[in-house]
Symmetry: C2
Subunit: 282 residues, 2 copies
């Protein structure tokens, strides 16, 4: 294994590493917030790395982005006003804008360079960036949520980096309490929540904090994500109302939205927890 | 990354590699059939490697073994007589023997050394090896299936290595036709079928060959398997009767069998195919 031909991310807490064979490094930049590298890989297409961690690949990001967007949006009775915290690569934004009911999406990304590099190296994720419903604000999502008006947002999607560094404050009860305040009566929050194999110490507190912040229902979505540690990932949904009551199942079944991973059956399947997860929550 | 501290499996067809941090190499042996290495890893417990490919780790094999055994056994009206082809590490056997209805399990493993090393390094998988219902035959599973009496077996589980080398003949219509002949009227076959992301060129022909061999119903099970390429894996179920008709749902729901991954809800969820899989089968 010639190290120069591979990009490797080591997951210290999982005693494991995932590597992708690379053709060339396309870009390397230190922004005001983080280091961003872009590689062309052999199989996974273009790869974006932030501070040494895989953010996304062209080949497998569809699973993550579809599972961040569609379960949350179909779990709201009428998602019109949406806020994305993070999400700079615009893949989640693209999925959200597939929903005809959505009238406005504000994306609050701290680092504008992520979006500019996505436009250059992942143009397929940015096809909807000029949609008149999309608004971009490059700033701090934690502060935005502190100062936003109450009760105006239908769905909040927290599509951030891991809970170390700038994103740490997005994994706190204080942040969830602000989300709860900013959301309308049937509001839904979803946040990426790491690996069920390696990170129960993140998932479990997140669920408890969301409940403590006032959310009536918290459910974890499970899905594969080959380029993330353990290849198995979660997002956690929180609803101000019970999610099974606000879920628009018929809309999910009969949707015209084109997807590669998500469908209504996958929605239900992804909410199914393995046995050890039930035990870990007890 | 000090290479001496890591075991790495490269997946050429996926342009990727998975590595586990190792504490020490415990065993290295060339048998009559293959090279078997055993490592102690940092996080995954003991690791068995055959011809350079990860066979199992102590930490994550529960997902694979439970998903190989329980969906197939609960999909048969009364699984009494079971045959395992391969399965030398005895993890699938342990799961099968948790079913009280099972009266006899014959395990046909080509390489006795796999079983002897499992007894030494994975004793937790071999706790049922002395069960009076278990019979071990060390020989060629392809030949065994050619010469076995017809109509006598309820469930066949093909728990083999990848379709290169000695296991190649287990991925053929001729083998499935023999399985079909050996199974009783409501017989169920299950076979591990690689990654849905990297190996549609294996899954798709397998499904077609099982159908061509006479199976009335073929369904693919999806589950995470962090130590296998892409971290996402499948097993394919084939039934002589429609599997939804023979599935004992109430038994799966009310089972006393202790599991860490499988439960009745997971059973249904694992049968749910992502959107791209439906398209790939068209």
């Amino acid at each position: 294994m010639d190290r120069s031909q591979w990009f490797t991310e080591i997951c210290e807490e999982g005693g494991s590493a995932f590597s992708m064979k690379i053709r060339e490094k396309l870009h390397d930049e230190q922004t005001a917030f983080q280091r961003i590298e872009i590689y062309a890989t052999e199989w996974f297409g273009n790869l974006m790395v932030i501070d040494g961690f895989v953010m996304l690949t062209a080949r497998d990001n569809f699973i993550y982005h579809e599972m961040m967007a569609h379960p949350a949006l179909f779990s709201h009775p009428s998602p019109e006003n949406v806020v994305i915290i993070g999400g700079g690569d615009c893949g989640t934004l693209r999925e959200v804008l597939k929903h005809a009911r959505v009238t406005h999406v504000l994306q609050v990304e701290i680092d504008e360079r992520v979006t500019r590099l996505a436009e250059e190296f992942f143009p397929e994720l940015c096809v909807s960036n000029n949609d008149t419903r999309a608004e971009f604000f490059f700033g701090d999502g934690i502060r935005w949520m502190q100062t936003a008006d109450p009760g105006n947002v239908d769905v909040i999607l927290v599509d951030s980096t891991d809970p170390i560094g700038p994103a740490e404050g997005l994994y706190t009860e204080a942040f969830y309490a602000n989300c709860h305040r900013v959301l309308g009566d049937s509001g839904v929050l979803v946040q990426q929540s790491e690996s069920p194999l390696f990170h129960m110490d993140i998932i479990n507190p997140m669920r408890k904090q969301m409940q403590a912040a006032g959310f009536a229902d918290v459910q974890t979505l499970f899905f594969p994500q080959p380029s993330y540690p353990s290849g198995w990932w979660t997002a956690t949904l929180a609803g101000k109302q019970p999610l099974s009551e606000t879920y628009r199942e018929q809309d999910a079944v009969h949707t015209h939205i084109k997807t590669s991973y998500y469908n209504a059956a996958v929605h239900q399947a992804a909410l199914t927890a393995p046995e050890f997860f039930h035990k870990a929550l007890e």
